[in-house]
C-alpha cells in the first residue's frame, strides 16, 4: 500500500533546502542573506497551503477510485 502524501514533510524539506541555499549565497557574497530571508520567508506558508490543497484533491481522487 502506497504511503499517503504528507505536505508538511515536503514543506520542511523544501524550506531546509531554500534556507541552506540562501545561506550559502549569502556567505559567498552573492545576496544579502537577511534581506532575502525577510522578503521570501512567507512563501513557505503559501507553498504549504498549495501542497495541502493538492493533498486534499489527491485524497478525494483516491476515495472515488
Amino acid at each position: 500500500m502506497a504511503r499517503p502524501f504528507r505536505p508538511e514533510v515536503l514543506v520542511l524539506a523544501l524550506t531546509l533546502i531554500a534556507v541552506g541555499v540562501a545561506w550559502l549565497l549569502g556567505n559567498a557574497g552573492r545576496i544579502d542573506l537577511l534581506a532575502t530571508l525577510r522578503a521570501w520567508w512567507p512563501l513557505t506558508l503559501v507553498v504549504w497551503g498549495v501542497l495541502e490543497l493538492v493533498a486534499l484533491a489527491l485524497s478525494r481522487d483516491a476515495r472515488r477510485s
Binding site: 504528507r6 508538511e8 514543506v11 520542511l12 524550506t15 549569502g26 556567505n27 559567498a28 557574497g29 552573492r30 545576496i31 544579502d32 542573506l33 537577511l34 534581506a35 530571508l37 525577510r38 520567508w41 512567507p42 513557505t44 506558508l45 504549504w48
Partner: protein, 466 residues
C-alpha cells in the same frame, strides 16, 4: 490537525518572527555599541577598495586626521607633500553594490587654520536618507607626512599608529594607540584600548580608561591617568601616575616617582629622585631610590630597599620591610611587623600586632609598640638616644662594646635581665633598672608592660650573630 502540522507551523512562524525582528533591529539601531554587540552592519561579506591622494603642503604644516570605524597610521615621508591612502571596507552582500557604495566614500582634505585636516564624508553618508538600511563601512587611513610634522589624530573605534613626527596629540577608543619616536611632547587620550608610547623627546601625557599603558624612553616627564588598567614605565624623566584598579611598574625613573593608585600593586626600581606612593589593598616595592621615599598603603606590605634619603612608610594589615636606608625613617604600621636592616640615621616606629626588628641601625631610635615584641641590634656602639615603649611585648637590645649609655628600664609584669660587661646599676628594684655604661651620655629608655626587658652584651651578641 495533526501534531506534526502544528509543530511545523509554529516552527515556520518562529523562524519568520526571528527574521523580522533581526531586520527591524538592523534598521533601527544606529552606529555605536548596538551594532558591535550584535554584529550589525559590520558583519557579513565585505569588499575592500582603495583610494590615494596627494596634498602639497608648505614646510611645517600641521596635519590633523579625523576618522571613525577604522585605523589611522601616520609615518614620516618626504618633504613638501602629504600622501593619503584610504582603504575602504564596505559591508554589503555583493561586490557591485559595495563598489557603488565605496565610490561615494570620499577623502576630504581641507586647509583650516594653517593645518591640513583630513577626514572622510562619513557624516554625510550616515545621515538618514530613506535608504533601505545603513551600510556598514570602515575607513582606514595610511598617511605619510613630511619630516617634522605636528600631528593631531582623533579616531573612534580604530587603532592609531603614529611614528616619527614632531609632536603628537592623539585621541581614540576601542583599539590600541601606539605613538613612537616623537620629537616633542605627546598627549594621548584613550578609552577601552591599550596605549603604547615610546621614544618621546618631550613630556608625555596619557589619559586612559579600561586599558593598559606602556611607556618607554620618555625624555620628559610622563603624566599618566589610568583607570582600570596596568601601567608599565621604563626609562622616563619623571613619572606621575594616578589611577585605580591596576598595578604600576616603573623602572629607571630619571626624576621623581609619584603614584596615587587604588587597588593596585606598585613596584618602582631605580628612581633617581623622590618617590611618593599611595595605594591600597596591594603592596608597594621600591628599590634604589635616590631621594626620599614616602609610601602609604592600606592592607598591603611595604618593601623598600636601598633608599638614600628619608623614608616615611605607613601601612596596615601587612608588614614593612626596610633594607639599607640612608636617611631618617618614620614608620607607622597597624597589625603588621616592621623589619629593618641597615638604617643609617635612626628610626621612629609606631607599630602594633607583630614584631619590630631593627637590625644594624645607627642614630636615634624611638619605638612605640602595641602587642608586639621589639628587638634592636645596633650597627655599632650606641651613639644616640634609644627609646622603646611597648605593651604586651618583650624588648631586647644588643649593646655593642664602646657604647656610652644611661639606661632606664622598666618591665611591669616582667623581668629585666642584663649580661652587658661593664654595665653598672645605679638603681635596681623589681621591674626597674637604672644603669650606666661607658660613662653614659646617650639615654636608653626601655619600658614595657606585660613583657621582659633584656640587655645583651657584646659577647652574647657574638655568640648569636657571628
Amino acid at each position: 490537525m495533526k501534531g506534526a502540522k502544528i509543530g511545523l507551523l509554529l516552527l515556520i512562524l518562529a523562524f519568520g518572527s526571528t527574521v523580522e525582528t533581526a531586520w527591524r533591529v538592523r534598521n533601527r539601531l544606529g552606529p555605536g555599541w548596538g551594532w558591535f554587540m550584535m554584529g550589525g552592519r559590520f558583519q557579513g561579506p565585505s569588499f575592500t577598495f582603495k583610494a590615494d591622494q596627494v596634498e602639497v603642503v608648505p614646510s611645517g604644516t600641521p596635519v590633523e586626521v579625523e576618522n571613525a570605524f577604522g585605523a589611522v597610521k601616520i609615518v614620516q615621508g618626504g618633504p613638501g607633500e602629504v600622501r593619503i591612502a584610504l582603504r575602504k571596507v564596505v559591508f554589503l552582500g555583493t561586490e557591485d553594490k559595495a563598489r557603488a557604495y565605496a565610490d561615494r566614500i570620499q577623502v576630504q582634505a581641507r586647509r583650516e587654520g594653517g593645518a591640513l585636516r583630513i577626514l572622510t564624508n562619513r557624516s554625510d553618508l550616515e545621515r538618514p536618507s530613506g535608504a533601505e538600511y545603513e551600510v556598514g563601512f570602515e575607513t582606514h587611513f595610511d598617511v605619510v607626512v613630511p619630516p617634522g610634522t605636528a600631528v593631531k589624530v582623533h579616531d573612534e573605534h580604530g587603532a592609531v599608529d603614529v611614528t616619527d613626527v614632531a609632536r603628537a596629540e592623539v585621541s581614540g577608543s576601542f583599539d590600541t594607540i601606539r605613538v613612537e619616536r616623537v620629537g616633542g611632547p605627546a598627549e594621548i587620550e584613550a578609552r577601552h584600548g591599550d596605549v603604547q608610547a615610546r621614544g618621546i623627546k618631550g613630556d608625555l601625557k596619557v589619559t586612559n580608561r579600561h586599558g593598559d599603558v606602556t611607556v618607554e624612553d620618555i625624555d620628559g616627564r610622563a603624566t599618566l591617568d589610568v583607570q582600570h588598567g596596568e601601567v608599565s614605565a621604563k626609562r622616563v624623566g619623571g613619572l606621575l601616575v594616578s589611577g585605580a584598579h591596576g598595578d604600576v611598574t616603573a623602572e629607571t625613573v630619571h626624576g621623581d616617582l609619584d603614584v596615587h593608585d587604588q587597588h593596585g600593586a606598585v613596584r618602582g626600581i631605580d628612581v633617581t629622585g623622590r618617590a611618593t606612593v599611595a595605594t591600597s589593598f596591594q603592596g608597594v616595592t621600591l628599590e634604589k631610590v635616590g631621594g626620599d621615599a614616602s609610601v602609604h598603603t592600606e592592607h598591603g606590605e611595604v618593601v623598600l630597599t636601598d633608599v638614600k634619603g628619608a623614608v616615611d612608610a605607613q601601612a596596615s594589615f601587612d608588614d614593612v620591610t626596610l633594607t639599607r636606608v640612608g636617611g631618617p625613617v618614620t614608620v607607622t604600621v597597624s597589625h603588621g611587623a616592621v623589619r629593618a636592616h641597615g638604617l643609617e640615621k635612626g628610626a621612629r616606629v609606631r607599630a602594633s600586632g607583630d614584631e619590630i626588628v631593627l637590625d644594624g641601625f645607627r642614630g636615634p631610635v624611638e619605638i612605640e609598640a602595641e602587642r608586639a615584641g621589639v628587638r634592636l641590634v645596633p650597627a655599632g656602639a650606641i651613639g644616640a638616644a634609644v627609646k622603646v615603649t611597648a605593651t604586651h611585648g618583650a624588648i631586647e637590645l644588643d649593646v655593642p662594646a664602646g657604647s656610652r649609655i644611661d639606661v632606664q628600664a622598666s618591665a611591669q609584669s616582667g623581668e629585666i635581665t642584663t649580661d652587658v660587661p661593664g654595665l653598672s646599676a645605679t638603681q635596681m628594684s623589681p621591674g626597674k633598672l637604672a644603669a650606666t655604661l661607658g660613662g653614659g651620655g646617650n639615654a636608653v629608655v626601655l619600658s614595657t608592660s606585660h613583657g621582659d626587658v633584656r640587655l645583651r652584651g657584646a659577647a652574647a651578641v657574638a655568640e648569636k650573630t657571628p
